[in-house]
């Protein structure tokens, strides 16, 4: 029987990678789970409130988007709009061409991954360099991030040391401090040479037009201290109504992501630098990216647009821990990715229609989500959509229910099956007649068949009540 692609991927994962992903996610999740109730009286209510704020924002984007655009423009920011990934890349390229810029330093942004910006610019002769340590390593390896917050959670220090040696950053040394120092030295001049610094945004306040960026390493700060032009790529769902709402969201973001009260750097940007200041961009652009988001907004899964990309659902998910991020075959892995990736795929939905099935629906993702997204409900809605659209991948490794439905409607056949099922207790699993059962038995043990027991009990008890 055909397996779900994610299962096949998980089976082929090396023990080392599996241990790294499992250990890394587990540790962060545990710290987060201790910190939230330790710091707040009612973390549950806090998460719900954050969800309500974001839900309000996305359900009123028709008001907020023009409002934030006007605010940004009055702050001296040039605003652009991009419908597709290609259009977003082309917009960045055009801004760079207008400044005759050839070098760009990039702070971590998931949108740029989503639109394939680095490849687009490299093909056109523009150097686009990742500056987040993890993203930098992913880039020199020609790899992809496997976690939203920790891009190289799947890599060992030994692999990194080999890559650094190959790229001329120094002789093999797998000490994490040395690796970090080498990246620091390598990247410093790049910030100063680049004409453009590109970032994403964690939040944009509709009230003030302030863009909020959070990082720990200081790379986004450097990208806004060296280069003279700042481009922020922003998904249209990043809007927060008021500055004060950031109090709710910032208090949750870093705690959920890395179990920190705040990230080391939380930057509020409202425009280009003043003329008399020596450092910072004299020109600032915001590119609002749709790339499928309006379709998500129109769908019955629009709650996923609340997501603030903290990665907490990845860290807690038993499937993510077992399979790792690349198993999701898309930019956004884990539970959030299982919802978002097939939706953002648009017409290519069938290619990712198996992802909503990569979940036991245990609900842990919903419980940790800082914006309280009902991920299991959304997964079910997408499973349904996969079936309705007859996407082949939506049915891989799913036993057909037709046989069961027939049995359940034929009392005699049902009773016979209940008794006949006892044979499963003695027949070796390799000989089981149903492929789905064989596949299941390969990794797990079926409980003992006890068909008919309830009916026996019921008959006995029914008689008792009658007496």
């Amino acid at each position: 029987m055909k397996k779900q692609p994610i299962d096949t991927f998980a089976e082929n994962l090396t023990a080392e990678k599996h241990a790294a992903v499992r250990g890394g996610t587990k540790a962060t999740h545990e710290k987060r789970s201790v910190m939230l109730p330790e710091h707040f009286q009612n973390p549950q209510r806090l998460r719900e409130m954050a969800g309500e704020i974001k839900q309000h924002a996305i359900e009123n984007l028709d008001t907020y988007l023009p409002q934030v655009e006007a605010k940004l423009q009055s702050n001296g920011v040039q605003v652009h709009w991009a419908e597709t990934a290609d259009e977003a890349c082309a917009t960045v390229h055009r801004i760079m061409q207008a400044r005759q810029a050839t070098k760009l330093v990039k702070a971590k942004t998931m949108v740029s991954e989503e639109i394939g910006l680095a490849e687009y610019l490299e093909e056109r002769g523009i150097e686009s360099l990742e500056t987040d340590l993890g993203e930098f390593i992913v880039q020199i390896d020609g790899d992809h991030p496997s976690h939203i917050v920790r891009p190289i959670i799947h890599k060992s220090r030994r692999e990194i040391a080999v890559s650094f040696e190959r790229e001329g950053l120094g002789a093999y040394n797998d000490d994490p401090a040395t690796i970090t120092q080498r990246a620091r030295r390598w990247l410093r001049p790049k910030y100063m040479e680049a004409q453009v610094g590109l970032t994403g945004a964690n939040f944009v306040s509709a009230e003030s037009g302030r863009i909020v960026l959070v990082t720990n390493e200081g790379n986004s700060r450097f990208s806004l201290a060296g280069p003279r032009c700042h481009i922020a790529l922003i998904g249209i769902e990043k809007i927060v109504p008021r500055d004060r709402d950031l109090g709710v969201l910032l208090n949750l973001l870093a705690r959920s992501a890395t179990a920190q009260p705040l990230t080391v750097y939380t930057e509020f940007i409202s425009g280009p630098k003043l003329a008399d200041r020596p450092d910072g961009p004299e020109e600032m652009h915001v590119v609002f990216v749709d790339n499928g988001r309006t379709e998500v907004l129109a769908s019955e899964c629009r709650e996923i647009l609340r997501c603030i990309r903290c990665g907490a659902c990845l860290n807690v998910c038993p499937v993510y821990r077992q399979a790792s991020g690349h198993a999701y075959r898309s930019v956004y892995p884990g539970p959030v990715g299982a919802v978002l990736s097939p939706l953002l795929a648009g017409k290519r939905f069938p290619e990712l229609a198996d992802l909503p099935k990569a979940s036991s629906l245990c609900g842990a993702c919903n419980e940790v989500c800082p914006v309280n997204i009902p991920i299991p409900d959304l997964l079910l809605r997408l499973r349904n959509r996969g079936k309705e659209e007859h996407a082949e991948l939506a049915s891989v490794a799913t036993p057909g229910l037709a046989g069961w439905a027939w049995l359940a409607s034929q009392p005699t056949a049902w009773k016979t099956a209940l008794v006949a099922g006892k044979a499963m207790n003695v027949v070796p699993s390799a000989l089981l007649p149903v492929p789905a059962l064989r596949a299941w038995e390969k990794d797990r043990t079926l409980p003992e068949w006890r068909g008919g027991e309830f009916r026996k009990w019921w008959r006995k008890n029914e008689r008792k009540t009658e007496l």
Binding site: E38, G134, Q181, G218, G247, V264, P278
Partner: protein, 219 residues
């Protein structure tokens, strides 16, 4: 490009049109984000109660929280000079407005301090002394702005960054910092030294920014 704008906004409107009602903007109680006084050396007056303990000295709390982030709270110019000397950091940048204040404690020839940050030699400074615009006690956070820290690089490129702060500039929490956010093109909250845990989850300090973050209290 206005084509893209109209199309996106049109699709947003079309997507939202079928909604019978829109989620209202919630009004939330600041109590929600008050931090319980459970950590650090400054306990809440009544254990289990939310919020900061009454009459907590904000500098004491700030210092405690900054230390938890491996930052260094310090008091007075002499302590700073001593610390710089012990570490062998003698080449530095000092904000011109602050220099009269530090001139005596960082004398030549032991120290070489410039009041202009030279972008061409951004990597030649071991320390940078700049003016903080504020601080957040509960998180050990320093607030920097372009107005008070004109040289972003001076506060970022050197291994040790010293932010000078006065007691009355410290606010208790994130909510009050947001409420008193300065009007400035760039406001940055700095909570401890630059750090990463990208490599196998191991904490390393001093990635792209300072490896040492000092908050220096002056009267």
């Amino acid at each position: 490009m206005s084509g893209a704008r109209e199309k996106i906004l049109g699709r947003v409107q079309a997507a939202l049109a079928p909604l019978k009602e829109r989620s209202p903007l919630p009004d939330w109680d600041p109590v929600l984000i008050e931090r319980r006084g459970a950590i650090g050396a400054v306990p809440a007056a009544n254990p289990g109660e939310p919020g900061l303990a009454p009459k907590v000295d904000l500098w004491t709390l700030f210092a405690e929280r900054l230390r938890a982030l491996h930052g260094l709270p310090m008091e007075g110019e002499a302590a700073l000079a001593q610390w710089l000397k012990e570490n062998g950091w003698t080449e530095g940048y000092c904000d011109p407005k602050l220099w009269p204040h530090f001139k005596a404690s960082l004398p030549e020839p032991t120290f070489h301090v410039s009041t202009v940050f030279d972008r061409a030699n951004y990597d030649n400074y071991q320390f940078g002394i700049t003016i903080a615009s504020g601080a957040i006690a509960e998180t050990g956070t320093l607030v920097l702005t372009d107005r008070d820290t004109p040289s972003r690089l001076g506060a970022l490129a050197p291994w040790a960054h010293v932010a000078v702060i006065r007691r009355e500039q410290i606010v208790p929490d994130v909510a009050s910092a947001l409420a008193t956010m300065p009007l400035d093109p760039n406001v940055i909250w700095v909570s401890g030294p630059s750090k990463t845990a990208d490599v196998e989850g191991i904490l390393i300090e001093g990635v792209h920014g300072p490896g040492q973050q000092v908050a220096l209290l002056i009267p």
